[in-house]
């Protein structure tokens, strides 16, 4: 599997994602400047976190209108796995590749801390290695991560199992206290109808090395190693 990490001006986590992908067996990776290069040779794409274009206007809004997005959209429609982490998620939402919007955190502050996530859908190309209901520990770091959808869209999302991770306490309960940003129904990650486009606020690349994990785990690896087992058609 050959994976492109798309670097926008202002991307912050691009090198961190590249490091995590390089450390995963069976994956090759390349950092691709948003304006350059052909994306057709890649089997999956990652939009890393950061503050693309300074997050001027709205988080992810300007990157979502850059020429690179048109190419990413075509590949996504073909079923190529696309992962957006943090600002990458915000870009995918702004580009309409994922539904809803990401609002300012309910606490009105940037929040950087480790959270517990429950796997709600393990059929995406990024969660295949997790069990349904499994608890993962990953860090978040964002100012605009509150998932919000109109009622009917939220209902459709739930009906079709497109909520991928929820914030929970350490027993797996999606409690109000475990919700770091006021997201509807503690949603931390969602996917598109085909399941190949995933947006998540937590950072798996920051939990891919046990030494960086306060508990010595490395739960982020599974997101990347799930990709390694795919064949080129994305199955």
């Amino acid at each position: 599997m050959n994976i492109a990490v798309i670097r926008f001006p202002g991307s912050n986590c691009d090198l961190d994602v590249v490091a995590a992908l390089r450390a995963t067996k069976g994956l090759k990776t390349k950092l691709v400047w948003h304006e350059s290069g052909d994306l057709r040779d890649f089997d999956a794409l990652v939009l890393p976190g950061g503050f693309s274009f300074g997050d001027y206007l709205r988080a992810g809004a300007i990157a979502a209108r850059s020429p690179a997005i048109a190419r990413i959209r075509r590949l996504a429609e073909k079923g190529i796995p696309v992962l957006g982490v943090c600002n990458g998620f915000q870009i995918l939402v702004e580009a309409g590749l994922l539904p809803g919007s990401l609002l300012r955190n309910s606490g009105l502050k940037f929040v950087c801390k480790w959270v517990t996530l429950r796997v709600e859908n393990n059929r995406t190309p990024f969660t295949r290695e997790s069990k349904h209901g499994e608890l993962l520990r990953l860090p978040i770091a964002h100012n605009e991560g509150r998932v919000f959808l109109p009622e009917d869209e939220l209902a459709a999302l739930k009906r079709t199992g497109r909520i991928v991770f929820r914030y929970t306490d350490d027993t797996g309960e999606p409690s109000a206290r475990a919700n770091p940003n006021g997201s509807q129904e503690n949603i931390a990650a969602i996917c598109n109808e085909d399941g190949n486009v995933l947006g998540m606020m937590p950072h798996p690349e920051r939990a891919a090395d046990p030494i960086l994990d306060p508990e010595g785990r490395s739960d982020g690896i599974s997101i990347f190693s799930s990709l390694a087992g795919l064949d080129r058609s994305g199955n």
Partner: protein
């Protein structure tokens, strides 16, 4: 210019006379502005240089010492670590959000100037009493938000810090930001223009009217109507800074950048004269080639503007193509403003007209300004200990909820402290933060200061900051590597203020010599004084110390790990409660003997602790500082909700009351936990040396119980301690936890 106009600038009558005499003519208006900026206290260190020369600056790992934008250390394997500290006190006092944000911008450029990648920010903050003052709460909230918004956006994690609240900072908050960088030895660049004919280039933002005379603003006391000086504060643009960082880090790999300096305090005036003076050359520029933010910026404004996000590069005339291409790719504006000359002069043209031509050395070497020092009348210290409350559990809970001691979570959760995937020990987890280095080693980082102790005894206060910061890096298993200091005082024209400054420098110099840690850089900030009340801040020296850990297995932290582990205290407790949190908060007592810094003893103690950690004997290590042994034990219990049963009767101590034993802030002390099966071996290692120590208890349960010879002193559940500790800052701000 008339004398009246000159007096409005920051120049003194002697400086004006010297400038006229040296040049043998009347300087032009642009020349006066350049001289004023470069000779400001902020840029020239004219009041402090003589004393700073006494600091020990060399060491086997030191590649670049003081005098450049950052100190640089060789950490092995072809890699270097750079470190620097800056303050933005005056700007933050009038515009806390913008002032704090641009403070980060400045220190990031200093690290970048050396050719190293900024990998960690450290913020050291001082405000008035946030329990009571709405103004201080406003400053505090907005300074933290300014640091968060800027640091998070540029993608450099804020990994450590220190904060202190004290009434003397009510109007003059202190906002210090330090940065640590990592790079390859072969990529190091110096701020020197060595070869005539080379191009002089500005990369980054345009030059505007913001930050006009910022260096001069920072070199006088804060006026009553200081809010009217907001135009002296620069405008932050973290996105442009991010592009500048990424593009210059990429361009460094081409090897084309021959010299580099950031445009900070004093703007172009300072950067040009220092690069030429250090390189033994001259520089000629044309202001018409500058990219301006507004069309009618005058030559004076252009030369002293401190507009942010600008870097000055020296590139070979025909070897610049790759660099310029990379800058264009990131859409970073570039202006070739002039060239390096061999005449030793800074020549500024506006089109064809020469508006300034001054010798670079004349500018870079400001006449020194000798200051008077006079020691204040010594305060009477009573030999008798003041009495205090009998319920020491209540006292301990009260101290835990002091904003000076309580959890810093409210601050550090607003900072992205993980980006870059290097942060091994994160804020709140240990006495220092620990970063992964590319050579397989680990870097510990910590900053410390204590203005209460410094105001009682500036010599031991300053030396004590270094002692505490060193102890904090030792407590995570690191060998202290180097120090940068930041010395913050009131008006140096006041002989007592200047005396406290001189004592602080002497304290740091003696202590660093004693423990063999070099000072590789630093900063002096005077005039932290209110014109209105005439009150200076308490002396506030800050020490930022880095330390090196060779092996991942030798990283230690304070949280208690296992039931049954044996607790030891290492180091002697002395009757040194002057400036302690116990005296200040509980007794309201502002006298007493300040903790004495004892470098020779500390060296022994630190190396013993490192031996224990490296032998794999310890399961947790914590130093005793603010709040003494009492707080030290509580802080070990809180993170894992694990209790301990302690009796202090064997603890090495001078004669004193139980309260003093619990809360004295003597230096040179650690608490360590050891597996029961290793306790004898550890005691053997401890007994080999001269360091006093004692077995004081065991880990277990959900309560901290401290007694003295069987008499109960403290009994608290880990829950109630955690609650007091976690809620201190949110409660002061009227927020729920």
């Amino acid at each position: 210019m008339t004398e009246t106009e000159l007096a409005i600038l920051g120049l003194t009558p002697d400086e004006i006379k010297y400038a006229r005499m040296f040049l043998g003519r009347e300087p032009t208006q642009v020349e006066w502005a350049i001289i004023d900026a470069e000779w400001s206290e902020h840029c020239s260190y004219k009041s402090s240089k003589n004393l700073l020369k006494t600091l020990p600056t060399s060491g086997k790992r030191v590649l670049v010492g003081p005098g450049y934008d950052a100190g640089v250390l060789d950490v092995g394997g072809g890699y270097v670590v750079s470190m620097h500290i800056e303050s933005h006190n005056h700007p933050s006092a009038v515009d806390p959000y913008g002032g704090a944000a641009t403070g980060i911008g400045g220190v990031l450029r200093d690290i970048l100037s050396m050719g190293t990648r900024p990998v960690a920010l450290i913020d050291v903050l001082r405000f008035g009493n946030i329990d009571e003052s709405a103004h201080s709460q406003w400053l505090f909230r907005n300074v933290v938000r300014g640091i968060a918004d800027y640091g998070n956006c540029v993608g450099v994690p804020t990994v450590a810090g220190e904060v202190e609240f004290d009434e003397s900072f009510e109007r003059n908050c202190l906002v210090d930001v330090a940065c640590v960088g990592v790079g390859r030895k072969e990529d190091l660049v110096l701020a020197e223009a060595r070869d005539p004919g080379d191009m002089v280039v500005i990369a980054g933002g345009s030059t505007g009217r913001d930050g006009i005379r910022g260096a001069t603003f920072a070199s006088k006391n804060l006026a009553k109507n200081a809010e009217s000086e907001r135009s002296s504060v620069q405008v932050p643009d973290p996105f442009m800074k991010k592009l500048l960082l990424d593009s210059i880090l990429e361009a460094l790999r081409t090897g084309e950048i021959k010299g580099m300096k950031d445009l900070g305090g004093g703007g172009l005036s300072s950067a040009l004269s220092e690069m030429a003076s250090k390189g033994g050359t001259g520089i000629e520029i044309d202001l018409k080639r500058l990219s301006l933010r507004e069309p009618d910026v005058t030559p004076v404004e252009a030369m002293i503007s401190e507009s942010q996000e600008r870097m000055l590069l020296v590139l070979g005339e025909d070897k610049s193509e790759k660099t310029l291409r990379i800058l264009r790719k990131y859409e970073v504006p570039v202006a070739i403003i002039g060239s390096v000359t061999n005449d030793g002069r800074i020549t500024v043209k506006s089109g064809r007209t020469v508006v300034a031509s001054l010798p670079a050395d004349f500018l870079a070497k400001a006449p020194l300004f000798p200051r008077q020092e006079s020691a204040p009348m010594p305060k009477r210290t009573t030999a008798v200990e003041p009495g205090g409350p009998a319920d020491l559990s209540k006292v301990l809970l009260n101290l835990l909820s002091s904003p000076n001691i309580g959890s810093r979570r409210w601050i550090y959760e607003q900072y992205d402290h993980e980006v870059g995937v290097r942060t091994v020990l994160k804020p709140g987890q240990a006495d220092s933060s620990v970063l992964k280095l590319p050579n397989g080693k680990f870097l510990a980082v910590k900053a410390d200061g204590n203005s209460k102790i410094s105001s009682l005894d500036p010599y031991n206060g300053a030396a004590g900051c270094v002692a505490e910061a060193c102890r904090n890096v030792v407590a995570v298993g690191a060998e202290p590597l180097a120090l940068v200091d930041h010395l913050q005082f009131g008006d140096p024209g006041d002989p007592q203020v200047y005396w406290s400054f001189a004592e602080s420098v002497r304290g740091i110099a003696d202590y660093c010599r004693g423990i063999g840690v070099p000072v590789v850089g630093g900063k002096v900030s005077f005039y932290n004084q209110d014109e209105h009340t005439q009150k200076p801040i308490r002396p506030s020296p800050i020490a930022l110390v880095t330390g090196l850990i060779n092996d991942q297995r030798h990283i230690a932290s304070p949280s208690l790990k296992n039931e049954g582990d044996v607790l030891f205290i290492i180091g002697r407790t002395r009757l040194e409660l002057g400036g302690s949190e116990y005296y200040d908060r509980i007794l309201g007592c502002s006298t007493g003997r300040a903790p004495t810094a004892r470098p020779e003893e500390d060296l022994e103690t630190n190396s013993l602790v490192l031996r224990l950690i490296r032998a794999g004997l310890t399961t947790s290590v914590h130093d005793c500082s603010r709040g003494g042994i009492g707080l030290g034990l509580a802080e070990m219990c809180i993170p894992a909700h694990r209790g301990a049963k302690v009796d202090l009767r064997e603890a090495p101590m001078d004669p004193m009351s139980p309260a003093a034993l619990l809360f004295s802030e003597s230096h040179g002390r650690f608490v360590a936990s050891i597996r029961p099966g290793k306790a004898l071996e550890a005691e053997g290692v401890m007994t080999d040396g001269k360091v006093p120590h004692a077995r004081i208890g065991t880990v277990g349960g959900r309560e901290l119980a401290v007694s003295l010879g069987g008499r109960n002193l403290v009994l608290l559940s880990t829950n109630e301690m955690a609650k007091a500790w976690e809620s201190s800052i949110p409660r002061a701000l009227g927020e729920s936890v």
